[in-house]
Structures are given as structure tokens and as C-alpha cells.
């Protein structure tokens, strides 16, 4: 899992401000979104354009279906805008 140094005083600060890489994954940037993408699996042709165009790696291919990681998706709407099959629409996050 993600190892993040716990720090309580100057003594346990990692020298030179060196930390494990890629730990921002724990950031739930999903809270930023006002709209969320929703996919219509019947229309989706699995062309994966939404996947390659997502700035936040929040399109997930699971068991042959496109899903979204709503914990991280910021709701930018690029996937909906780019989907050739118009299979993704943006809904107001309640």
C-alpha cells in the first residue's frame, strides 16, 4: 500500500525532503467535482478514448466495462465531450 512517512518532530524529517513517490493517490480529488460522468454501457464501444484523454486516470476498464473512479475524478467532462459514441453524459453531483 502507499507508505507515507509519519512525522512528529524535526528529528524524523526525511533528510533533504525526500519522500516515497506517488503517494498523492490518497488525495480524494473527487470532492472537487460538481458534475460526474455516467456511462451507458450499451452505447460504449470500448474505444478507450475516454481512458487516454482523462487527466486524472479515473477511467477504469473492469470486466470489459468502462467505470469511473469517483474518488478521484474531478468532473472536468473531457470524456463526455470526446466520446465518439456519445455514451457518457455529465450529471450534477448531488
Amino acid at each position: 500500500m502507499v507508505k507515507i512517512p509519519t512525522v512528529t518532530s524535526w528529528q524524523d524529517l526525511p533528510v533533504g525532503c525526500v519522500v516515497p513517490g506517488g503517494t498523492m493517490i490518497i488525495n480524494k480529488t473527487g470532492a472537487w467535482k460538481v458534475f460526474r460522468p455516467v456511462v451507458d454501457h450499451k452505447k460504449c464501444t470500448l474505444c478507450m478514448l475516454c481512458w487516454i484523454y482523462c487527466p486524472d486516470s479515473s477511467v477504469v476498464l473492469a470486466e470489459g466495462k468502462i467505470e469511473f473512479d469517483y474518488d478521484h475524478c474531478k468532473g472536468c467532462g473531457i470524456c463526455a465531450n470526446e466520446c465518439p459514441a456519445k455514451a457518457i453524459r455529465m450529471e450534477l453531483e448531488v
Binding site: 518532530s9 524535526w10 524529517l13 533528510v15 533533504g16 525532503c17 525526500v18 519522500v19 516515497p20 513517490g21
Partner: protein, 398 residues
């Protein structure tokens, strides 16, 4: 059989020190009076005497940045510069210290513009005193060679991990030839183990990120951690000096060196080549007039030897000679010596002297005059003028 060369310039001595320390990445930019350091290193590499990469950077600012990148990536790095080149590096000097990269840099001290000057002056190195670098000021070429080797052991010590500047005055040392004993590579290898960077390393299986943004919650703690490292450097410098003496047979006396101070009532405090000249003046005054005078040579300006100075609080008077100046304040060395005594019960009267700026010669006679003035101050108990500009052409106003 070629006769073995016995005399070397200060620049050659610096290059030999770096070679013996088996530096791996050298990145520099030419500037008088430093250029021959790198020329020598290039020859060592070309002749197979040194296995290293030399990068002829496009600027000093790039040279020090290359060293930081290389040092973070695990290579022992060396650079050298002076004057305008050193002050161009300023942004990255703070960076290198904060990144705790144990880079060693030779600074062939030279005056700053304007006006233009090629000659010796400590303004370049002294003006970098707050960048977090350890700073050594050498008296002669032998000390230059020895100090560069020692500086790697000090800088790479786990309790320190801070870069070091080794200063040698332009022309007065860099281009002056004198006897220098070159230690054997075997001895230096035993004294100085290879460099291994333990806190940052390039490993795809365990990727690390260096220098992420720190908000107000932890920045101060990082600065204190760095200060503790600088304070640790004091003991490490003394320890390394002794180890160097045991292995190579020379000891330049840790942070400072006290010369003829056992019974001295009055002394002169200075750095670099002026200390050598002052040594002679002290010896002559004692011989000729039996006056109880002595020399305190400051070898390490950062970390500043505050505790060492406090041992001299019973002295009557001191003259502190600076080859640099902080406008609107005074000589930086003098200011720091004064502050070292600020809270001691007894404290010597302190006379500031600015001398040798822009390569002006400072001879034995000058030092004797300063010492006579200091003796007078010790008698009258009054310092009329906080700072004397030695041999100033024209009347000094304030």
C-alpha cells in the same frame, strides 16, 4: 627517471586534492583566477590518472546545478569558481545546502564588480555566509590540498551532509608556487571511503521524490534540522582534522588555530594568507620587543567558532582584520568575533581593521602597526574608531 615535482600552485594543489579524493563528476565554468584548476583535472582524466567526467558547463549557475543533480544521483562532485561566478551561483548555493548534497567547491577568492578587479578579496565567499555551506579559508597551498580532501570526509559525514567551500585567495595562492607535499593515493583512500548517497537514490522499485513543497507546518523544522547538521560539523571538523593528522601527518587545527596565544594579552584575528603574514609579525614583535602578542587564525568561518573564541575572553584587546566588508556595518569577521564575546563577563576590546581589498598587499609591517595600535587600545581602554581602513589613500572620515 623524472624528478618528482615538489612545488605547486594553489590551483594545482586544489586539483590534486580533488583528484586524490577520487571525485567522479566535475562541472565548472572558466573564470580567472580559477581556470587552471579544471585544466589540471582535465589533464588528470586525459592521462587516466582520474576516472571522472568533466562537464564544461555553459555558466556557473549551471555548473553548480549539474553538481547538485549528480550528487543527488550518488556521485562525488567537485566544482570551482570565484567572484562573479560564485555570486551567480548564489540561488543554487542555498539549494545545494538545503538538498544536503555534500558538494565540495574551491573558491579562488576575487573581488566583486563594480569596479572590475581580478585580485584577491573575500567579498565573494563571505557574502555567501548565509547559504548554509561550510566555509574554510586556507593560509597556504598545502592547506588547500589537505582541506579539500578533509572537506569531503566532513561533508559526507551522516551527521553533517552539507556542502563545503574551500577558499584560496586569487593569485596570492592560486598562482603562487610553493612546496606542497602530495599524500599517497593509498593513504587518502584509507582516510576517505567512497561516497554513498543514502537518503536519495534512483531505484524504480522504490521511487523517491526529492524536494516536495513544504507548507508552514514543517518548513521551520527543516531549517532547524539543517542548523543541527551545521553545529554537528564543528565536532566532525575537529575529529577529521585529527584523523587526517594520524593518517597523513598534518593538522591545520580544526575551526581555528591559536599561534603564540599561551601568554598573549593582545592578538590579531584574521583568515587566509594574511594569517601567514601575521604569524611572522607576531614572532618578530615577541623577539624584538618581548610584547605578549599572538594570532588567532580563523580557518572555518561557517560554522563560526563561537565557543573557541569565548576561551579568549580574558584577552585585553583584539584586532580583527577583514579582507571583505559589509557596507553600513563593518568587517563581517570582526562583527562575528564581537558577537561571540557579547554575553561573556570579561571581554577584550575589539578593533576592526579592513585590509587587502581588491588584492592590496598586506605585509608584516602593516600587521605590526595594527598590533601596536591594539596594544595602545589595551592600555587606554578606548577604541576611538570601530573600523580602520588600513593604508587608505585620503583621510578616513568616520
Amino acid at each position: 627517471m623524472e624528478t618528482e615535482k615538489l612545488t605547486f600552485t594553489g590551483n594545482e594543489s586544489a586539483a590534486l586534492g580533488a583528484k586524490l579524493a577520487r571525485v567522479e563528476v566535475v562541472a565548472t565554468y572558466p573564470i580567472t583566477p580559477q581556470s587552471t584548476i579544471v585544466e589540471n583535472l582535465s589533464r588528470f582524466i586525459a592521462n587516466g590518472e582520474l576516472k571522472a567526467e568533466i562537464i564544461n558547463a555553459e555558466s556557473e549557475h549551471a555548473a553548480i546545478s549539474i553538481c547538485i543533480g549528480a550528487s543527488l544521483s550518488g556521485a562525488r562532485t567537485f566544482t570551482a569558481t570565484a567572484s562573479q561566478g560564485l555570486v551567480l551561483m548564489h540561488e543554487m548555493l542555498h539549494w545545494a545546502a538545503g538538498a544536503r548534497t555534500p558538494i565540495v567547491m574551491a573558491v579562488t577568492n576575487r573581488a566583486l564588480c563594480v569596479p572590475w578587479s581580478l585580485h584577491a578579496d573575500f567579498q565573494d565567499a563571505i557574502s555567501q555566509r548565509d547559504t548554509g555551506w561550510i566555509q574554510f579559508y586556507c593560509e597556504n597551498n598545502q592547506e588547500v590540498l589537505d582541506t579539500i580532501i578533509q572537506a569531503y570526509k566532513i561533508s559526507e559525514d551522516k551527521r553533517v551532509l552539507l556542502p563545503s567551500m574551500v577558499s584560496l585567495e586569487g593569485f596570492i595562492l592560486t598562482h603562487t608556487v610553493e612546496r606542497v607535499d602530495v599524500p599517497k593515493q593509498k593513504d587518502v583512500d584509507e582516510f576517505l571511503p567512497p561516497y554513498k548517497n543514502e537518503f536519495f537514490y534512483i531505484d524504480p522499485e522504490n521511487p523517491l521524490a526529492e524536494n516536495v513543497v513544504v507548507l508552514p507546518d514543517w518548513y521551520m523544522e527543516y531549517r532547524y534540522q539543517q542548523e543541527v547538521a551545521m553545529q554537528n560539523a564543528k565536532e566532525v571538523i575537529d575529529k577529521v582534522s585529527k584523523e587526517y593528522f594520524d593518517k597523513i601527518g598534518r593538522n591545520w587545527g580544526g575551526l581555528i588555530e591559536a599561534y603564540m596565544m599561551e601568554d598573549a594579552e593582545v592578538a590579531v584575528v584574521t583568515m587566509g594568507t594574511i594569517a601567514g603574514t601575521a604569524r611572522v609579525a607576531v614572532r618578530e614583535m615577541r623577539k624584538k620587543s618581548g610584547k605578549k602578542v599572538g594570532l588567532i587564525k580563523v580557518r572555518c568561518f561557517r560554522p563560526f567558532p563561537v565557543e573557541e573564541f569565548k576561551k579568549f575572553s580574558s584577552l585585553k584587546a583584539l584586532a580583527v582584520i577583514d579582507r571583505s566588508y559589509s557596507f553600513g556595518c563593518g568587517g563581517p569577521l570582526c562583527t562575528e568575533v564581537k558577537s561571540a564575546f557579547y554575553n561573556t563577563e570579561e571581554k577584550p576590546l575589539i578593533l576592526g581593521v579592513v585590509a587587502g581589498l581588491g588584492g592590496r598587499d598586506v605585509n608584516v609591517g602593516d600587521i605590526i602597526n595594527v598590533l601596536e595600535k591594539t596594544i595602545e587600545v589595551s592600555k587606554t581602554g578606548k577604541v576611538e574608531r570601530e573600523t580602520i581602513w588600513l593604508n587608505l589613500k585620503g583621510e578616513q572620515l568616520r
